[in-house]
């Protein structure tokens, strides 16, 4: 297929970013139905353009390096698109229009009390991420990073009358600004090392011991916090749970990946990486995966469950990237190719099924006005299309064949087995049982979610949940089709990931291709297709055995005459055994009824998952800091003339110091 090589990927992506960012203005200028549709249309058009540019770059079309002649204090900023940027642009341009379309049905602009704020900041959010991915200048990068973070805060706190939302917003703001602070220090160190704010080309920066260590650690802190890596994950569950659902889809599907992009970008600048870097990423990834899914299994709020599962998936992605770096430092190129490919494929897969799950949760919340799993039930009868999509999403996120989640994990398993087979000290063999445990716990979490929310009978009454029409069902169908495409034709994503692996691993494209040639990717696609066909065939066969008019009855309840829906298993009871086993990681605080008098009184029973980092570390830390610095409050007395004296004294001292 002949691609139009006259168009330039860089220009296409810049144009895409500008179109998307302007779409936000449409929401403010025309706060009505047509304004929202205009914004969605602009986002879709921009995404299509940008996707073309990204795919062109991955297919090998070189993009020009554009320089913006702005009067920055240092050199003028550059934008440059390389395979790494192009690969991360793909999920952005898939999820952004889909989430925007969902927002039309979920929060119609004409009935929204915030009048266009959501549309504006959604477009700014997406547009800033586009420019973030292609910027090759530290100041431009940080500007876009801040716009992305602040837009996310505005989107998150859109329902600020709810105190939970405000609390989640505060914790998110604190976390993101702490990370940005680390990024400021890191970019300053980089400027000290290279003399310029422009990003060096991949592989150009020499590693100089202490400076390199500091830069890498700061990158892990700043970007890892944004990605939601343990132990900097504490903002994730609250933020993703309390944001509007399509915003959660964007945040979870795309914003987390910006953190991973940052880690890869900064580490890619070094010509050689220290050997401990890969192991550190692997350990952080493994820890995030195991504790993330254990946390997810213990949640009783469905969006918090998805958010904690995002922590787990980021852990799996980092496991793959860590294996890649370990392979690079040990000189095992096959291991490196397998690890990186697995990480990148899982990244793309996660950007498909996590937004699907969040959009579905939007439909659930829209209809039932509750996020509590234990209050829902039997929704499959009311919202069958959403239920079907959520079933696909749950099967995919558990990494089960025949869907796409399996493909990424397959590569990681292969990497672990290969290391076990060929190395004398195969520490990586522990990755495979860890992934198996994580997969098993993911099945617990998502069977709990799907089974309790959609199946059985409603545990509380609620008003009519309904499938949301084209605007709300369409995005989920689109994402499901993309998931099936990846599952049945995995070579598509593998070929898409190979240029990125080549760039990150300092190999040639043909080199990567030959290293990965032993992986039976087409056969996996055929096996998935065969499984789907066999299941379809079994359905068809059994339709002949089971006549349509089979008698109906009530569920067998051991002869109990008055069964009630409250006798069903709740989500908390379903995961209780597993959560007790994982007690080290996901601590539960139980409030049990106290028996003090002879006759029964009204008592309460509650189960709450504790957020270890927030409750045990950050809140006491802040309280100590608050009480420790309380003496400084004496300076804040409100007397204006003394404040003017402070300013005078400061200026005086500064002038004395400046002019010796």
């Amino acid at each position: 297929m002949e691609l139009p090589t006259t168009a330039d990927p860089t220009h296409l992506v810049i144009l895409a970013g500008l179109i998307i960012a302007c779409g936000g203005g449409a929401g403010i200028l025309f706060p009505s139905r047509s304004g929202q549709w205009l914004s969605i249309l602009l986002t879709a058009a921009g995404s299509l353009l940008g996707m073309t540019g990204g795919v062109m770059r991955l297919a090998g079309v070189e993009g020009t390096v554009r320089e913006f002649a702005w009067s920055f204090p240092m050199e003028s900023p550059l934008v440059r698109i390389d395979p790494l940027s192009a690969f991360f642009l793909i999920p952005l341009f898939i999820v952004a229009p889909v989430a925007g379309l969902f927002g039309r049905g979920y929060r119609p602009l004409e009935t929204d009390s915030r009048r266009g704020t959501l549309t504006l900041f959604l477009s700014l959010f997406t547009g800033s991420m586009v420019f973030l991915l292609i910027s090759a200048h530290a100041i431009l990068f940080l500007m876009m990073w801040e716009i992305m973070a602040i837009s996310a805060w505005f989107l998150l706190t859109i329902d600020s009358q709810d105190p939970q939302v405000r609390r989640a917003g505060t914790i998110y703001l604190f976390a993101t600004h702490g990370g940005t602070m680390a990024l400021f220090v890191m970019f300053s160190l980089m400027r000290g090392a290279t003399g310029t704010f422009r990003f060096p080309l991949p592989g150009e920066m020499g590693a100089e011991g202490g400076g390199a260590t500091a830069i890498l650690i700061l990158a892990l802190v700043g970007f890892g916090g944004k990605a939601g890596v343990m132990p900097l994950h504490f903002w994730l569950p609250g933020a993703h749970a309390n944001a509007p659902s399509h915003v959660s889809a964007m945040m979870s599907g795309v914003m987390l990946k910006m953190g991973i992009y940052g880690i890869l970008r900064v580490s890619g600048m070094f010509s050689t990486l220290p050997p401990w870097f890969g192991w550190l990423i692997l350990i952080l990834g493994g820890w995030s995966a195991v504790s993330g899914i254990a946390l997810a299994a213990s949640q009783s709020d469905l969006k918090r469950l998805f958010a904690c599962s995002s922590i787990e998936n980021v852990g799996i992605i980092l496991t793959g990237i860590g294996i890649g770096f370990i392979g690079m430092s040990q000189g095992d190129q096959t291991l490196m190719a397998l690890g990186f490919t697995g990480g990148f494929i899982h990244l793309l897969n996660h950007a498909l099924f996590k937004p699907l799950l969040f959009l579905g949760s939007g439909v659930i919340i829209h209809g039932t006005h509750t996020r509590r799993i234990d209050r829902l039930g039997g929704l499959m009868k009311s919202i069958p299309w959403t239920g079907g999509a959520m079933l696909l999403g749950s099967v995919a996120i558990s990494g089960l064949p025949p869907l796409n989640g399996f493909i990424g994990e397959f590569f990681l398993y292969l990497a672990s087995f290969r290391h076990a087979m060929t190395s004398s000290l195969p520490f990586l063999l522990l990755v495979a049982p860890m992934l198996a445990l994580v997969g098993g716990t993911a099945v617990i979490a998502f069977v709990k979610f799907f089974g309790i929310v959609f199946l059985g009978s409603p545990r509380r009454g609620y008003d009519h949940p309904h499938d949301g029409g084209v605007t709300m069902t369409g995005p989920m169908v689109i994402l499901s089709i993309l998931m099936l495409l990846v599952a049945l034709y995995p070579l598509l994503v593998i070929r898409g990931a190979m240029p990125v692996v080549a760039q990150v691993g300092h190999l040639s494209l043909t080199g990567v291709s030959s290293l990965l040639s032993f992986v039976p990717a087409p056969l996996l696609g055929w096996m998935n297709l065969a499984l789907i066909l066999v299941v379809a065939g079994a359905f068809f066969l059994f339709r002949r055995f089971i006549p349509a008019g089979s008698p109906r009855s009530t569920t067998w309840g051991c002869g109990y005459l008055a069964p009630s829906p409250r006798m069903q298993y709740t989500g908390t009871s379903f995961s209780q055994m597993a959560v007790d086993l994982f007690g080290i990681v996901a601590t539960i605080s139980r409030r049990s009824p106290r028996i003090s008098l002879i006759f029964p009184t009204l008592e309460k029973f509650g189960v709450r998952t504790r957020e270890m980092v927030i409750d045990s570390l950050l809140v006491p830390l802040f309280q100590i800091a608050g009480s420790g610095f309380s003496w400084l409050r004496r300076l804040q007395h409100g007397k204006l003339h003394i404040y003017m004296l402070y300013i005078f004294v400061t200026l005086f001292i500064m002038m004395l110091a400046w002019h010796p």
Binding site: F417, M421, P433, L455, F542, I546, R552, Q568, A578
Partner: protein
């Protein structure tokens, strides 16, 4: 080609016989005559002829569950080598797909159990997902050990590698693997000491209670699927535990059937002499099996 045909024929027709053998062994231990060896066949065929009653609480997921379970287990059976004969489907990394197909089966079994909206099924589903999550790492440790000694990523080559001479050369490791795989076999197929397939007290069931509400042909599919799962995992077990072959490929088929029957008798003996463990002990036994297989791996690292 002829191997593939015999493989498929055995997979379709042999599994219920294993169930019959287990029941007969338990009956002998109990001093009874027991049901005929072919009773599971009669049961499945009878269920196919019966009608079904569906609960008003259930949806299409309830009907999909047994079908998806059966299909995924049958697909997994195409990848397991029987004896030393190559399976119909074999590729690098098929062990991973093999293990995850069982995960898919478990997902749909538990989800269709939760569809009934009954606390019995919920209880069984909760226990099943927890115990399976603990049994998965054991299987992977065993597979990694075998992959390392055989330098291959494909199930057929891994199990073909296990011959009597090689068994003796890494003897301690293989014994540990045999024990660990036997425990996994019992756990995945819901046998004593993890679950009692003959109990009728819902409070003590795991697998039996998940299928309490199914009837008719779907229940027949469940029974048959459970039999095929036992067959497939027993084939994995005998590949590791009984490495003898006769010289000729043609005689290997009856030898394989004999090995499978011996495994079924062993399961029957274990079921007759042990009681089901208390539920709090089950995770401990599973983690113990994981540690055993990790030890097996340690032994071959040097």
């Amino acid at each position: 080609m002829i191997d593939a045909v015999i493989h498929v024929i055995l997979t379709i027709f042999l599994p219920p016989l294993l169930l019959g053998v287990i029941t007969r062994v338990k009956a002998i231990f109990a001093g009874r005559r027991g049901a005929p060896l072919l009773q599971p066949y009669y049961d499945i065929l009878r269920l196919m002829r019966k009608g079904s009653v569906f609960s008003t609480t259930t949806t299409w997921v309830f009907r999909a569950g047994p079908l998806v379970t059966l299909c995924s287990i049958l697909t997994a059976s195409l990848m397991i080598p029987l004896g030393h004969h190559p399976p119909p489907i074999s590729f690098a990394g098929d062990v991973i797909l093999f293990a995850y197909l069982f995960g898919l089966a478990r997902f749909f079994t538990t989800v269709s159990a939760l569809d009934t909206g009954s606390s019995f099924e919920g209880m069984g589903a909760a226990r099943e997902v927890t115990f399976s999550a603990l049994a998965e790492p054991t299987l992977f440790f065993a597979v990694i050990t075998l992959a390392r000694v055989s330098h291959s990523l494909s199930l057929s080559e891994i199990l073909t590698f296990v011959t009597p001479q090689r068994w003796l050369s890494v003897g301690a490791c293989m014994i540990l693997l045999t024990v660990a795989l036997f425990i996994v076999l019992l756990a995945e197929n819901c046998r004593i000491p993890f679950d009692d397939p003959t109990t009728h007290l819902e409070l003590t069931m795991i697998h039996e209670v998940m299928v309490l509400d199914h009837s008719g042909p779907l229940f027949g599919a469940i029974l048959y699927g459970a039999a095929v799962k036992l067959f497939v995992l027993s084939a994995l077990f005998v590949g590791v535990a009984f490495p003898f072959t006769t010289g000729s490929p043609l005689l290997d088929w009856p030898l394989l059937i004999l090995k499978l029957l011996v495994t079924a008798i062993a399961i029957g003996v274990v079921e007759s002499v042990m009681a089901r463990l208390r539920l709090v002990r089950v995770p401990q036994l599973l983690v113990g099996a994981t540690i055993l297989s990790a030890f097996a791996l340690l032994l071959i690292l040097r």
